[in-house]
Symmetry: C5
Subunit: 86 residues, 5 copies
């Protein structure tokens, strides 16, 4: 998984049917290239500025109860910024 910071919301009216019902959030990577912002589906209610854990690719499907064309999913809201060596 990667850590990222929620930066905004993406709205899409015209979309694939089984993508409906998921909130789509812009997530900026916490480590590595911060410019590679991705869009992750969210069901945990993550808010702007929160640090989240994002799972990508096919394992995303194990977070939902029906298959959907989602390749990035917020699987956790991180309690505190990580501290190296702890």
């Amino acid at each position: 998984m990667i850590l990222g910071t929620v930066k905004g919301t993406v709205y899409s009216t015209k979309k694939i049917d089984n993508l409906r019902g998921f909130k789509l959030l812009l997530v900026e990577p916490y480590y590595g290239d911060k410019e590679k912002i991705l869009v992750a589906a969210d069901t945990l209610g993550a808010g702007i500025g929160e640090l989240v854990l994002v799972t990508r690719d096919e394992p995303t499907q194990h977070a939902i109860d029906h298959e959907a064309p989602i390749d990035a999913f917020i699987v956790g809201i991180v309690d505190n910024p990580p501290v190296m060596g702890k």
Copy 2:
């Protein structure tokens, strides 16, 4: 998912059978390295210049009703350019 801008169409007469029937669009990444243009299948009717949401890898298969060798699929047309912090 990633956000990208539709930049053109790719035509291929000689192709794998179960790829037929999908429009193939050139999509330029909106964030990160813009030179890494990819080709995404489209069934939503996205037009040149539109901002779209692209799902990659195996989750693409959940956007279609029969399996196809597609690893990038346009799953949504974005309403407005994203605004950070909203």
Copy 3:
């Protein structure tokens, strides 16, 4: 998918059994980092210098009638070099 140019052939006598019967071609990415040449399986008869469409990862399996340890597959030969904005 990515666009790439066929640059050569890879020969392997000692290989996993269910990889037999596929031609293996060197493909240079058309967009992005051209040094990241990959090896893609081909059943369409793509020739050196031709522009092809390559699908990667697990969706490759939907291009073949039996599973094989292939993570890049040539799914189309492109008619003409792509033109931006068309």
Copy 4:
């Protein structure tokens, strides 16, 4: 797989249900870009500073007995730092 060094622990109280029960560790890549720290699930009891082997994407599911939205998993603790040419 990639080799990486365990650098810390990530805590998340609010998370997807089937992610519960896994320890989540920060892992710094041993080769390549060390800034691309990732979060891997662990059941082997890897400690801070240990060198580990991390499997990513869908093959992670073959390390666990029930599916979970995990895309990076510690599948081995490495005995000694690798030596090139041996």
Copy 5:
């Protein structure tokens, strides 16, 4: 697939059970960023210095007769270094 050169062996005593029985080799990419050395499972008996073909992600599973948490697998030993344009 990618081409790579075998550079060494990785030993791990404490590992996930279904990873046992596979030799784990360090493989240096032949094209692109050579620093991104990966660890690939091997059943073909590839030796140090040999050029190999590596399949990644879930398609690796089609090279083995039981599922294992392996995301890189040596699927062929290359006969000769590739020549561009042939």
